[in-house]
């Protein structure tokens, strides 16, 4: 299994796209802190990268990579190897490579220029979102045989998590504005990993604004240790569940 991970990683790290991605993140990460004397503003710009660009790149790159390595997977399946191991190694290989790219690209500049609680949480959220979107991509890729359709689904999923879901929340909030929705919102936000990540960062970055009445409810939930643990478990579930379902499908799939 480790051998396959090594192989996948070596393959990905040689990939021009992943190198370009790392350099892109690194350039942005460095320039954001060098152009602004205000590190809070720098972190704010990086927040948009972490919440929008990272999920997009992760989900699309992973989907395409899984489709492109279909022949390699077929070859491995013909060997005396468990399917479970093949699939998990593939996942680990992609996820590790992207995590490494993110850590070099965003993690290093943040730790160098803005080593604060907000900065560390931003990097942690970015790392978790990377793994989550790789897992979601694996599910999208294994579900459909057609490559074009698979990539389409991946893009749609990204659009859903980063834009449509929030639109839906806004719609609900205004339609049912006469009702106390705070706790329901707390539940709804756990249905979107991007939102959980964003709220985590907000609690550090905009804590003053969040201490208003509604915000105080989020602060009381996410700001306390049990809340933090719950939110982290939900994030972990977002990694494990898509992977688990994709694995089940892959195990039974007729390649």
């Amino acid at each position: 299994m480790i051998k396959i991970i090594k192989y996948v990683m070596a393959d990905i790290l040689r990939n021009k796209i992943i190198i370009a991605y790392t350099i892109f993140l690194l350039v942005i990460g460095m320039s954001v802190f060098n152009l602004e004397d205000n590190t809070t503003k720098g972190l704010l710009s990086l927040l948009n990268i972490v919440l929008i660009v990272v999920p997009l790149v992760c989900i699309i790159f992973s989907t395409i990579y899984v489709y492109n390595s279909a022949e390699f997977v077929e070859l491995l399946v013909s060997q005396p190897l468990q399917r479970k191991h093949i699939w998990l190694s593939l996942f680990c290989g992609i996820a590790l490579a992207l995590v490494l790219a993110f850590f070099i690209g965003i993690g290093l500049p943040v730790l160098l220029y803005s080593f604060s609680a907000t900065g560390i949480i931003l990097v942690a959220v970015g790392l978790m979102l990377t793994v989550i979107f790789v897992a979601i991509a694996m599910l999208a890729a294994v579900k459909t045989r057609d490559k074009a359709k698979g990539i389409g689904i991946a893009v749609l999923l990204w659009l859903y998590f980063s834009l449509l879901f929030d639109g839906l929340i806004l719609f609900i909030l205004f339609q049912f504005s006469d009702y106390p929705l705070e706790n329901f919102m707390l539940f709804l936000s756990t249905l979107n990993p991007v939102d959980i990540g964003r709220i985590f960062i907000l609690l550090k970055m905009d804590v003053s604004a969040l201490m208003g009445y509604t915000g105080a409810i989020f602060q009381n939930f996410f700001g306390t240790l049990p809340g933090m643990i719950t939110a982290t478990i939900v994030m972990l579930l977002w990694m494990v569940l898509p992977l688990y379902f994709s694995l089940r499908i892959f195990n039974r799939k007729d390649l």
């Binding site: 919440l51 929008i52 834009l163």
Partner: protein, 415 residues
């Protein structure tokens, strides 16, 4: 002016001392002539000095009804046994200095205080510790009094069971200087107090306001620190207040403001620092207020300006790292925003005059949405909220069009 008056008081006090060359010093203590402070007061003539030795004195309420100087040596403790008011001052030109007053009674019927001044002039209360008192220092109908370097500490549990630290009612020309107040209901409370100065005090962790002004005209509060009060500072129904160089810090909560201005006119807010408050300044029915040279850092909202506030000028301020700069609740804006530095400004300066060439709109679309439906705060900084703000910048529709800074600074002001 203020300084001159202060010197005048010193001379006046010095004058009283020299006039009373024949005045006696009465000693109070276990091994002294007088065992109780009240006995010494009863025996004293006007102008005498009473020196109190260290120890614990439990003598119900001490009433000072003649001009005396009551001075404690090494902070003797006067205990109110959770029942009594500790010192009542009912004469002019009294000095109370160097005591530790503890455990006054509490009552919702009468205002029990650590030290209470009844309709007196030129009283000086200086360098005392007050602990666990109901009202701390209570001035009623006092004129030209000085409250200086006292340390007040209470353990307020609810608003009903606690009272104000320094409470002034119907007074004139007070000097409240260098006091520390914590754990009371309102740190410093002014009602019908005029021409007074509040200078270099620290008021923190009080259960309501750090400073509370009502109907108190032409006062100044300068270089005070207000921290972590559960409702910040409130200035109401007043005109001619000068608020200079104060620090408002960590006032967190929905109804909690750095300064809450309600029905204020002709006042001046200058040189203050607002740090990490949920709302820096809240304007409600505020008129002709000049807000200049202040720094707003890391607040939720630097300022909320209700549409019923008119003719206010907000200029030469620094707005740094606030979640929202300005919020308002209507489209009518009768206030002037001019020459501020906004760190969210994205314009350019082609003619290099230091001012951005494009006007800055400090009210963002999303802050209008949040004002309408506070729960939407959960979507703050999401992709969609960013899109909203960007489109609103290109095609303004919801945000008030004339709430605009036409000359935003390109660089932060040095304040």
């Amino acid at each position: 002016m203020k300084f001159n008056r202060w010197i005048a008081i010193l001379f006046m006090l010095a004058g009283t001392y020299t006039n009373c060359v024949n005045a006696a010093s009465l000693l109070v203590g276990k091994s002294q002539q007088y065992k109780l402070i009240q006995q010494a007061i009863n025996a004293a003539k006007a102008g005498d000095t009473i020196l109190v030795s260290p120890g614990v004195y439990k003598e119900q309420t001490i009433v000072i009804n003649k001009t005396i100087f009551l001075i404690g040596i090494q902070y003797p403790i006067i205990d109110g046994e959770h029942t009594y008011q500790i010192i009542s001052i009912k004469a002019n030109n009294v000095l109370v200095k160097g005591f530790k007053l503890m455990h006054s009674g509490t009552s919702s019927l009468i205002d029990i205080a650590g030290i209470k001044v009844y309709d007196a002039k030129n009283v000086v209360i200086e360098d005392n510790f007050l602990e666990d008192t109901f009202f701390g220092i209570f001035l009623q109908g006092a004129t030209n009094c000085t409250i200086k370097n006292n340390n007040l500490k209470a353990y307020a549990k609810t608003d009903q069971q606690s009272a104000n630290g320094i409470h002034c009612w119907k007074c004139d020309s007070l000097y409240i200087i260098g006091n520390t107040v914590t754990g009371h209901r309102d740190g410093i409370y002014f009602e019908f107090v005029t021409h007074s100065l509040i200078w270099r005090n620290r008021s923190f962790k009080n259960s309501r306001y750090g400073l509370h002004f009502m109907f108190s005209h032409n006062d100044a509060y300068i270089a005070n620190i207000f921290q972590k009060n559960s409702a910040g500072v409130s200035v109401m129904f007043t005109h001619g207040v000068k608020m200079f160089n104060n620090v408002f810090e960590d006032n967190w909560g929905d109804g909690c403001y750095g300064i809450f201005l309600k029905e204020i006119t002709d006042s001046h807010i200058s040189g203050n620092t607002f740090l990490r408050n949920t709302t820096g300044i809240f304007f409600e029915g505020a008129t002709r207020i000049v807000v200049e040279k202040n720094t707003f850092i890391k607040n939720g909202w630097a300022a909320k300006i209700q549409a019923n506030s008119i003719q206010n000028t907000i200029s030469n301020n620094n707005f740094l790292a606030n979640s929202f700069d300005i919020a308002t609740n209507g489209s009518l804006v009768e206030n002037t925003f001019n020459k501020n530095y906004w760190d969210k400004y994205e314009g350019y300066d082609l003619n290099k005059d230091g001012f951005g060439d494009v006007p800055y709109h400090p009210v963002s679309m999303f802050s209008m949405i949040v004002a309408e439906n506070p729960t939407t705060m959960i979507l703050f900084r999401s992709f969609m909220a960013t899109l909203f703000d960007k489109t609103e910048k290109i095609l303004p529709s919801l945000t008030p069009e004339n709430l605009v800074d036409k000359l935003p600074y390109m660089k932060p002001l040095r304040l």
